[in-house]
């Protein structure tokens, strides 16, 4: 039983890792006032870039670099549309998502002639599990040792990065000058402008950070969790992350918890398959799939506390009315 729980949590970590990264990305972007439904697109594009480049170069790290570059480029496109040209942020995000889902397959198909898939990666072209120091002898210790070995240790680098991203995000947002200004620009850009800070530059930096984080998440999908890129690989995880971010009220730690919750639901769904729960009976997989979205809607409806978005979110900054 205990082991089953462990393994469920273990897979929760694996599943929620990309969600966490994307959610943090979303927080950076949206706290600066830029709606970011393009998480999905960045995630997908990055996953493709990582797998493709890793396949060619044979190095997972080169792949990761490519993923980050790609994702940042898309973030810059988003910024160009929303910040420089004051375009509608939702429309821009949507466009990027559709563009990504189209381009990845188109380019992949032309590049590898595998109908949009990339070759299967192995060895150094993937981020493989690393067992943390001391796993071997800690394994002896009954309870904690098992947890350490089974749960904490034995994930790939990117998972650890994902969970490190949370405290870092928190620290940047609340403990640094940049964070202070970022939060301010999401609430009242005029105040930031009149304080002598460039709203544009500030927001660009925010979306770029979002790009970097999504890039890592994408690399995780195709070179960590899996060993190749497949079309529509992100499968809506960007949207789930968006939901999680809102669920976490645009704050890092609650955001993390939301991601873990959604990841846990997923992990449970896998293990509950065909298992009839006492009293409830067998839960339809579709119900489990829909749950994160349902929960988020319920939250948005203000039934479990209100999620208040940054004041200036979605509104392009215009000096002259």
């Amino acid at each position: 039983m205990f082991l089953l729980l462990l393994s469920t949590l273990d897979s929760t970590l694996r599943v929620s890792a990309p969600l966490v990264l994307c959610a943090m990305a979303g927080i950076f972007s949206e706290r600066s006032g830029i709606i970011d439904i393009s998480l999905e697109g960045k995630l997908l594009a990055a996953a493709f870039a990582a797998a493709a480049v890793a396949a060619v170069s044979g190095s997972a790290f080169v792949g990761l670099g490519a993923a980050i570059v790609t994702s940042v480029l898309m973030a810059l496109l988003h910024g160009f549309a929303c910040i420089t040209h004051r375009g509608n942020q939702v429309v821009s995000g949507l466009a990027i998502n559709i563009l990504a889902s189209g381009l990845t397959v188109t380019l992949g198909g032309a590049w590898f002639h595998k109908g949009g898939q990339t070759p299967t990666l192995s060895g150094d072209a993937r981020f493989s599990p690393i067992s943390l120091p001391g796993s071997d002898f800690l394994a002896e210790i009954p309870f904690l040792g098992t947890i350490y070995v089974e749960l904490i240790s034995g994930h790939n680098l990117l998972v650890y990065i994902a969970f490190l991203a949370v405290p870092i995000t928190w620290w940047v947002l609340y403990k640094t000058r940049f964070g202070l200004r970022l939060r301010a620009v999401g609430e009242n850009p005029q105040a930031v402008d009149t304080a002598g800070i460039s709203v544009t530059f500030l927001r660009y930096r925010s979306v770029i950070i979002a790009g970097i984080l999504c890039g890592i998440a994408g690399a995780y999908l195709s070179t960590g969790q899996n060993a190749a890129f497949g079309k529509e690989m992100s499968a809506g995880q960007g949207y789930i992350a968006l939901a999680a971010m809102i669920f976490g009220k645009w704050k890092p730690v609650p955001g993390l918890l939301a991601c873990m919750l959604f990841g846990f639901l997923d992990a449970m769904a896998v293990r509950l398959q065909g298992v009839a729960l006492p009293g409830i009976g067998e839960i339809p997989v579709q119900f489990m799939q829909a749950l994160p979205y349902v929960l988020t809607v319920i939250l948005l409806a203000g039934f479990i506390g209100k999620a208040i978005a940054p004041k200036a979110i979605g509104r392009p900054y215009v000096k002259e009315r």
């Binding site: 709606i35 439904i37 496109l77 160009f80 549309a81 929303c82 040209h85 004051r86 375009g87 509608n88 942020q89 939702v90 429309v91 821009s92 949507l94 466009a95 990027i96 998502n97 559709i98 563009l99 990504a100 889902s101 189209g102 381009l103 990845t104 397959v105 188109t106 380019l107 198909g109 032309a110 590049w111 002639h113 109908g115 949009g116 079309k231 809506g236 949207y239 968006l242 939901a243 809102i246 339809p284 579709q286 119900f287 799939q289 829909a290 979205y293 349902v294 988020t296 809607v297 948005l300 409806a301 203000g302 978005a309 392009p316 215009v318 002259e320």
Partner: protein, 377 residues
């Protein structure tokens, strides 16, 4: 979208600029095609022939066009109340479910001319129902409709999936699809329809739903610009305070507008389920809901514009299918990429070219002006 900074004549704002944007989108698409080592010109030829080469292809083009008119109108109507309905996909999907359930329930018992009105009602009703919840939450609980409609798309997929797998699937059938409807629940194809007048054309999924689409366009045009309800919707869209001041019940207005939007999206079900597949199946909307956003943006939320834009996307879809058929290196997804670019340039970057055009325009005007003065002097 960012609002125009300076007044330009209407024909530039609704004519020239969208045209330039669309051309930009195609230009970039062309580059992509070059990158994957194919000849864009050739591709264009194939697309155009593929879309209009013969009555069969035209049939497919118009069939897609019909979907896009529905979803485009749906997005546009909501836009006029400054509501962003990203839920067209889900609403269309559920609308189709409505049609399906009705047809499966009645096709043994009653004739077509009874089923048709009921089916249209069902598709609209189900679509509206799916728009109702996000609308209600927006109006009465202030939850952001963009997010809720996105969520409802996913919920719709799970729901349909469940119903098909556990309820509608035909016993012994492998794929989660319902049984085929009897002819009494099948929308006459254009082939049959023109056949009644003794005209011969190839069989294609094009069916009489396109008439419903054209009717919807007229309806929306009259409704938005020539009725008091449309007046209220536009007022609310431009200025919520003014709407309150005028004594409009804005909450009811939000819900009503979104439901109308949902109805229009739901009609996709008529075209696809009743007109084309004649059975309930997975994913029959195939992105039409999202394309609707591009269509509305390009069509400037006006039925005429929407018809033109829908035709364009119908061409892209059908021509694109042919393209991947003729040139296997060009995946069907290429169309998606183009679609993304169109949304980008016509939506998010709609006013990128404006300042330049403004400058050019004013330059021209001034030069004319000075010219006149000289002649006067």
């Amino acid at each position: 979208m960012s609002s125009p900074s300076k007044a330009l004549p209407a024909w530039i704002d609704v004519g020239v600029i969208p045209l330039i944007n669309i051309l930009l989108a195609f230009f970039v698409s062309g580059i992509v095609i070059l990158i994957i080592g194919e000849d864009p010109i050739e591709a264009v030829k194939i697309v155009v022939y593929g879309a209009f080469g013969n009555d069969y292809n035209i049939g497919y083009t118009l069939h897609y066009t019909t979907n896009f008119i529905f979803t485009g109108l749906a997005v546009a109507v909501a836009f006029h109340a400054s509501l962003f309905n990203i839920g067209g996909e889900g609403q269309a999907y559920i609308g189709g479910l409505g049609v399906g359930l009705l047809c499966l329930a009645l096709d043994q018992y009653v004739p077509f001319w009874i089923i048709l009105p009921l089916a249209i009602a069902a598709s609209g009703l189900f679509g509206a129902a799916w728009a109702y919840v996000p609308a209600y939450l927006q109006a009465y609980r202030g939850s952001h409709i963009v997010i809720t409609t996105i969520m409802f798309n996913f919920i719709a997929f799970s729901l349909m999936n469940y119903i098909l797998v556990n309820v509608l699937i035909e016993p012994g059938q492998m794929s989660p699809e319902s049984r085929d409807f009897l002819t009494s629940a099948q929308m006459p194809t254009m082939q049959e329809a023109v056949g009644w007048f003794g005209i011969e054309i190839e069989k294609s999924p094009l069916n009489l739903s396109i008439l419903l689409a054209l009717f919807s366009c007229t309806f929306v045009w009259l409704f938005i610009w020539h009725t008091r309800w449309g007046y209220a919707i536009r007022m609310f869209g431009f200025n919520e305070n003014a709407a309150n001041y005028s004594g409009i019940n804005t909450q009811r207005l939000v819900v009503g507008t979104m439901c109308l939007s949902g109805v229009l999206a739901g009609f996709v079900g008529i075209n696809e389920i009743m007109g084309n597949h004649n059975r309930v199946m997975l994913d029959f909307v195939a992105g039409a809901g999202f394309t609707g956003i591009a269509v509305a943006l390009m069509g400037r939320n006006h039925p005429v514009g929407i018809i033109i834009a829908s035709l364009l996307f119908g061409t892209l879809y059908q021509g694109g299918a042919e393209l991947s058929f003729e040139i296997p290196t060009i995946q069907g997804e290429m169309v998606k990429a183009i679609q993304g670019l169109v949304i980008l340039f016509c939506g998010a970057l709609a006013y990128m070219s404006r300042p330049t055009i403004e400058r050019i325009f004013t330059a021209i005007v001034e030069s004319n002006g000075t010219a006149k003065e000289q002649t006067n002097g």
